[in-house]
Symmetry: C2
Subunit: 136 residues, 2 copies
DNA sequence: AATTTCACTTGCGAATTGCAAGTGAACAAA
DNA sequence: TTTGTTCACTTGCAATTCGCAAGTGAAATT
């Protein structure tokens, strides 16, 4: 994996050095909100990521500790990707971009989740993160 | 400006279609948090964006209504970029990425702002946004 | 033994990025 | 009035990244 060199000390810039692209956060979304965990499941997402890009991003996310990779219990050729605490801590980021998108793009966010976030943003985010920590 | 076509109905994906790159949010950061407003000021930022990329991103941000462009009062060859409401509503996004970065990258965020956010995140974000609306 | 599933890898053209130099209008100084 | 400077870009080109399509290889299934 080619290494990422921070462009500045700014924490926003630092974050963008890792997740400043069109795909990384979608993979994390799939793990955080859609209960997906395998290469095949990520490939099936609506946005149609290319196979090489997916492999590249999963490699980056693993190399930098956003996710872990383990062999599946049922099949030795299948791998399960799970968010680490570092990955879980990006949940507020994907939620805020999603909330922005649900305002500026009519069709939208899972209605259930959207209304939960509107009722109690902090609590909803916390509950999502706690669920992920139970790696459920 | 080449047009952006949404990859899916997902609001996160929709947001990333616009701001899913390494530069757009840094420009918005400069306007939202660093009180910058001109091409020259954006160029001087620590991350050293290339002139053509900056011009391209400013064009995109203007074309899609994140910022407005007006001639400066003092010089006719100088332009002032200002965040619109659509741009201001990205403040929570840059704050969340910044908070993430300040945890996973030691040197960091403006200490003043960081501690304000730790004390009262919602209030601090709201105050930043209100200040921007007064286009101060 | 043959096929299918799963997770990738490879090759290659197209698009994007990034460096360096150039352009042109407005204003300032000589 | 010419000359230089500031400001905001544009242009050309090499290098990197993206994205499509096809291929590979190990493991499981038929």
């Amino acid at each position: 994996m080619k290494d990422i060199k921070p462009r500045s000390a700014c924490p926003l810039s630092y974050g963008l050095d890792f997740i400043g692209d069109k795909w990384s956060l979608l993979i994390i979304r799939d793990m955080a909100l859609n209960n997906k965990s395998t290469y095949g499941e990520f490939l099936n997402s609506e946005e149609q990521i290319a196979t090489n890009i997916l492999a590249d991003r999963l490699g980056m996310l693993e190399a930098y500790g956003f996710v872990t990779k383990q062999v599946a219990a049922d099949k030795k050729s299948k791998f399960l990707y799970r968010l680490t605490e570092k990955g879980i801590s990006l949940v507020p980021v994907i939620i805020e971009i999603g909330l922005w998108g649900s305002v500026y793009n009519p069709p939208g966010l899972n209605t259930q989740l959207l209304s939960a976030l509107q009722q109690d943003k902090e609590g909803t985010i916390r509950r999502i993160q706690e669920n992920l920590r139970r790696h459920e």
